[in-house]
């Protein structure tokens, strides 16, 4: 090993440590994290929206070929929402691109993530995992501060 090779190994090591530190920082500051997995319970297969208080919501999403239930989720501005996700049949994706919510719905497993909706608007939820011939039409919406609700 010559001095250039030693140098490149050190630089590479430093670079990877910086990347890793950035990932750890995002996690420890609560900026972003992966979904939590929680023990299975059949009650997660009932689609519903529950308001714990005026700014805290729980949304239990059930994916199925080829729709999400509930398909329209009404939330006030500033609400913090816990999404619980599972599927009745094949594997589906659950992607809210504007909020970096990105989960897989897998049979027999329950996924959970928390996200805060600060701005009013319509946030499309797209199924981004192939789930059969109707896959391209499978979507839902989070509607934040819809005037009539």
């Amino acid at each position: 090993m010559d001095k250039y090779e030693k140098r490149i190994l050190i630089y590479t090591g430093i670079l990877l440590v910086i990347f890793l530190a950035a990932v750890m920082r995002a996690v420890s500051r609560g900026i972003s994290d992966l979904p939590a997995c929680i023990p299975y319970d059949p009650s997660y297969l009932e689609p519903r929206v529950t308001a714990l208080d005026e700014n805290t919501y729980q949304v239990f999403v059930v994916a199925q070929m080829w729709s999400f239930q509930p398909s329209e989720i009404f939330i006030p501005v500033g609400a913090e929402v816990d999404f619980y996700l599972t599927t009745k049949d094949v594997v589906h994706g659950f992607h809210i691109a504007d909020k970096n919510v990105n989960m897989m719905a897998v049979y027999g497993g329950i996924n959970k993530t928390t996200v805060k909706f600060d701005k009013p608007g319509v946030y499309p939820i797209i199924c981004h995992e192939y789930c059969g011939s109707g896959h391209q039409h499978m979507k839902a919406e989070v509607i934040v501060n819809y005037p009539n609700k």
Binding site: P42, V90, G108, G109, I110, P124, Y130, K139
Partner: protein, 566 residues
């Protein structure tokens, strides 16, 4: 010096290159069609009797499994016999080919008859025809037979050459197939033990998180199985083709052994968004995935340093002058063009790979069009171009046919054109991915159909860009097939045999025992795999509830129920 390989092995190599290259025509055809569907140019479920997801399955299985496996075996045969200067077993080579051929034909039948539109990841509980699973399993088992036939040859060479470094290409080939063998045991269990009896109706249901984790135990090591033949060419052939020497041979040995340890225990980074595996395991495998970036950085340095040496020898003066002195368009060294363009693409493929591996950053890109954008710059870049270039090189060698100068001119243009097309195509896909465009989706009948309520005008420029790049890539592939067809109708003018570019080292360091011995690395490999995967399987047992019955991709009712009502 030309190595005179046996007539039988020559025939095996020719068939193992020609067969998947023929199927590739279909795979590439549906590559182009996907860019047409996705951009809304085709707004239909199927075009010319090929349904979108059926074509997508063909595209993935043919390009990423059939072509790559056949090529790795053919190139492995060539490397083992050429660099060890020994005969390998011809009957076993034929047996291996027969398994792979039958497997490919079974899977191709299932896909073409529309009974296996489950994509190449065959995620249950979507169910394919049993022969699809059996075909894929036979293809993999066939490649094992080739590996088993090399082991005694390799061990005999080692016994008779104590204290001599094993040839780098042989080390790379043995590392590659060892990883391949180990990683394909769980997926063989998934396919033969779980999915096949389930698709035959013998077992009612399957544990889905378990099946997926078994798949990804294999699925990421698979990408290194694609990549390592290209790495062997980068280390042992590229420096000589550029007119120089390999900067360091021990660096290459170190890199291959790192791949042996780290190729497998990183698969969970494909499952960051999934339930049933806890965050701690995902973080551990993030760190391990960062670890496997190290051998690629070492390779980037070593190959760049080797090319710099070549450029300086060819008269380069300034700091970056060597970049301009390389034989990019030298038709008599067309293999150089295939390898260097692949490396240029891989700079971007590697860096985007680090993004994907980065734990929660993955949530920005997972399952969006970013992903195909990324992996077309790895498997569709360095891997695919190395396969195309080396196939042409091997075919001319073992058939004793010579390409005419005009054909060589076309052959040298192909990789450059492919690179331009690919970089445009991947930029379109990745840009779209960041805007939320999903992968594996027939966008033409929903999000890219102006008459649909789902229409997304913001995805028009991105999918159009991918289409533009795709058309260029398709033309490059067309030119390649012209050269291949011309070769078919050329007469033999030379003695058939095998000769690889001669391999010389700039810093020829003494043998380091640790870098010439499989045992310690194999022990480490199994330790790291156990560390990374035992907790993952324990989590799956703990968190997973019900198992799933099979589903037909065209019907939301479980298969059992609607078959009964028929």
């Amino acid at each position: 010096m030309k190595w005179n390989i046996s007539k039988g092995l020559r025939a095996v190599i020719i068939l193992e290159l020609a067969l998947p290259l023929t199927l590739l025509a279909l795979g590439i055809y549906h590559g182009l069609l996907q860019t047409l569907y996705r951009s809304g140019m085709i707004s239909m479920r199927e075009f010319a009797a090929l349904e979108y997801y059926q074509g997508l399955t063909l595209h993935g299985v043919i390009n990423a499994i059939v072509l790559t496996t056949f090529f790795a075996v053919a190139f492995g045969h060539a490397c083992i016999t050429y660099y060890l200067k020994r005969k390998t077993s011809t009957p076993l080579a034929w047996l291996s080919f027969a398994f792979m051929l039958v497997g490919t034909l079974l899977a191709a039948w299932a896909m073409l008859s529309g009974k296996a539109a489950v994509l190449y990841t065959f995620y249950p509980p979507l169910k394919a025809h049993p022969l699809f699973y059996l075909g894929v399993a036979l293809l993999v088992v066939g490649s094992w037979v080739a590996y088993f036939s090399w082991i005694p040859v390799f061990l005999a060479w080692r016994r008779e050459n104590k204290g001599i470094k094993m040839p780098l290409a042989v080390l790379g080939t043995m590392v590659n197939f060892t990883v391949w063998f180990v990683c394909s045991i769980p997926v063989a269990y998934e396919v033969l033990g779980l999915l096949l009896p389930w698709s035959l109706g013998w077992t009612p249901d399957v544990n889905i998180p378990l099946a997926r984790t078994l798949f990804w135990f294999f699925g990421h090591a698979l990408v290194y199985f694609w990549l390592l033949p290209a790495y062997i060419m980068f280390y042992t052939m590229l420096p000589k083709l550029a007119g120089g020497k390999l900067y360091s041979d021990n660096a290459g040995r170190f890199v291959f052994f790192l791949f042996l340890i780290l190729s497998i225990p990183v698969g969970v980074h494909h499952q960051f968004g999934e339930p049933s595996i806890s965050r701690g395991i995902k973080m551990v495998q993030t760190v391990l995935t960062f670890g496997i970036a190290l051998p690629s950085f070492v390779t980037a340095f070593t190959i760049a340093a080797s090319l710099e040496y070549a450029g300086v020898k060819r008269g380069a003066k300034s700091l970056f002058g060597w970049l301009g002195k390389l034989p990019y368009f030298d038709r008599d060294r067309y293999l150089f063009a295939y390898l260097i363009t692949g490396l240029i693409i891989f700079i971007f493929g590697g860096l985007t790979g680090i993004v994907n591996a980065s734990y929660s950053l993955n949530a920005v890109v997972h399952n969006t069009a970013w992903m195909p954008g990324h992996f077309h710059m790895t498997v569709g870049g360095p891997v695919f171009l190395a396969i195309l270039g080396m196939s042409l090189y091997l075919l001319t060698n073992v058939t004793g046919r010579v390409l005419s100068p005009s054909m060589k001119n076309i052959a040298v243009i192909v990789p450059h054109l492919w690179m331009i097309g690919l970089l445009i195509f991947s930029t379109g896909l990745m840009w779209g991915g960041l805007l939320g465009e999903p992968r594996r989706t027939n966008l033409g009948i929903s999000y890219l159909d102006p008459n649909s309520p789902l229409f997304r005008p913001d995805w028009v420029p991105t999918t159009a860009m991918a289409l533009f790049g795709g058309v260029i890539m398709f033309s490059a592939a067309g030119l390649y097939f012209i050269v291949l067809l011309k070769l078919l109708f050329t007469k033999r003018t030379e003695e058939p045999g095998l000769e690889f570019p001669e391999y010389a080292v700039l810093h020829d360091e003494p043998r380091i025992g640790l870098l010439d011995n499989f045992r310690p690395w194999l022990v480490l490999m199994f330790l790291v795999i156990a560390l990374a995967y035992i907790p993952a399987f324990r989590d799956i047992k703990k968190y997973t509830g019900d198992k799933a019955p099979p589903y037909d991709p065209n019907n939301p009712t479980p298969l059992e129920l609607y078959q009964k009502t028929d």
